[in-house]
């Protein structure tokens, strides 16, 4: 299957060639991740492990680094545009960072084959999510008590001026964020899909507020587990360098093209790719090859 494609030729690849190949692959992952809004992390780890035959622990370490870079870069723009709800983000970060620490702990103790299988499941779920774009509508009625206490209600810019919204389901959203953080720390992904889901479905935030606030939290969440990975020796400079720079450049290019691109067809292709990679990850995990 995919695994042997590169490994057969991997013997004797020099560091320069390796860095160029990984950099090009990461650029593609960042580009697609930014165009489809799913982030580069979900394709990056399968790319590094299945195609390049890299140990999954190195792959996760490098992926986390790239996640911090792209999230911080994009958040810089979104925060200035005024969509991001900083209070919601900062409050939920308590849950995501603690979850991420827990995930990073677990990653050191769980067998890599389990991590591969879980990763495969997340990929298949992302594939499913990418096939549908429906999201919930704003909910009427008063905000919940926690939203009032924490002053979470906000407003976002529209062509007709700022529009106010209320925040619901704060505790449910907070609880889900532990899971999002744990997945991020365990798998080295941003887990933006879970974060958006929690804010969209449980807290009924406007969609653009959910996606930008999710992106805002991703950097801090990933930093909480990246510290642990760095201390454990999972972050390799020779790998993290091309991955970080490649993904960063790719996602910058992606956001430039985004305004003009027809993303529907792309999302379908990307979804199929995720499905294929997910099955492959699970297969390799179950047969003990990862």
């Amino acid at each position: 299957m995919l695994t042997s494609a590169f490994e057969a030729h991997a013997e004797g690849v020099t560091l320069v060639e390796f860095v160029l190949l990984i950099g090009a692959g990461s650029l593609g992952a960042g580009f697609l991740g930014s165009l489809t809004g799913l982030g580069g992390g979900v394709v990056l780890v399968p790319l590094l492990t299945l195609v390049f035959g890299i140990d999954i622990r190195y792959a996760i370490g490098a992926s986390l680094i790239s996640v911090i870079a792209t999230s911080s870069g994009a958040a810089a723009a979104y925060v200035r545009e005024g969509y991001t709800n900083l209070r919601v983000g900062m409050f939920l970060e308590i849950a995501t960072t603690i979850g991420a620490l827990g995930g990073a702990f677990l990653a050191a103790r769980a067998p890599t084959s389990w991590i591969a299988v879980l990763f495969g499941a997340v990929l298949i779920h992302s594939a499913y999510l990418s096939s549908r774009t429906h999201h919930s509508e704003a909910k009427a009625g008063p905000s919940d008590a926690w939203a009032t206490r924490l002053r979470l209600d906000g407003s976002y810019p529209t062509p007709a001026g700022p529009r106010a919204y209320r925040v619901h389901g704060v505790l449910a959203g907070f609880g889900l964020m532990f899971g999002a953080g744990a997945l991020s720390g365990l798998l080295g992904i941003g887990s933006g899909a879970v974060k958006v889901l929690a804010m969209d479905r449980a807290m009924h935030l406007p969609f653009k507020v959910s996606t930008t606030t999710s992106n805002f939290m991703i950097g801090v969440t990933a930093a909480a587990s990246a510290g642990v990975y760095l201390n454990r020796g999972y972050v390799d400079p020779g790998l993290a360098m091309p991955v970080m720079l490649g993904v960063l450049l790719g996602s910058l290019l992606g956001s430039r093209v985004l305004a003009r691109a027809r993303t529907r067809a792309l999302r379908i292709i990307f979804g199929l790719m995720l499905l294929l990679l997910g099955v492959e990850m699970i297969y390799n995990g179950l047969t003990g090859r990862l």
Binding site: E7, A10, G12, V13, T14, L15, V16, F18, G53, I54, D55, R57, Y58, I65, I68, A69, S72, G73, A75, A76, A77, V79, R80, G82, T84, L86, R87, M90, E93, I94, T97, A100, L101, A104, F105, R149, L150, G219, V220, A222, A223, A224, S225, G227, V228, L230, N231, R232, G233, Y234, V235, D236, P237, G238, A240, M241, P242, M244, L245, L248
Partner: protein
């Protein structure tokens, strides 16, 4: 929004700038370290198929700092990655300060908790 100096919008703008500068500086340092690394070791054969873990000096802040000062390529790359890690950390630390200046106790506590978790992760490595 007490006091004209620390409006939400101003805090947003400073946070935006902070994140942007952090990522740019990190990328430049990583690029410089990568160039040094490739110039000196470009023709070696890397092996990432088997996990060995990084040498101790590339795992902690003090080791990375002294390696980077000696212009060691991998050390310089790790320094760039540390700058990248410090970017969200600086953002959270700035938020603590901004909320404190606005006497917003609830959010001082909220952001302090996040700051402690981040420092714990970076410092002890979580065991």
């Amino acid at each position: 929004m007490r006091g004209p100096a620390w409006t939400d919008q101003r805090v947003d703008e400073i946070i935006g700038t902070l994140l942007r500068v952090g990522v740019i500086v990190a990328a430049v340092v990583v690029l410089a370290g990568g160039a040094l690394f490739l110039m000196r070791h470009g023709s070696t054969i890397p092996d990432y198929r088997v996990f060995h873990g990084e040498p101790a000096y590339l795992r902690g802040v003090s080791g990375i700092l002294s390696a980077a000062r000696a212009l060691d390529g991998p050390g310089l790359i790790q320094l760039g990655l540390l700058v990248l890690l410090a970017t969200p950390l600086a953002r959270v630390a700035f938020s603590v300060l901004a909320f404190a200046l606005r006497r917003d106790r609830t959010y001082v506590v909220v952001t302090l908790i996040v700051l402690v978790v981040l420092l714990y992760s970076l410092g002890s490595g979580g065991g």
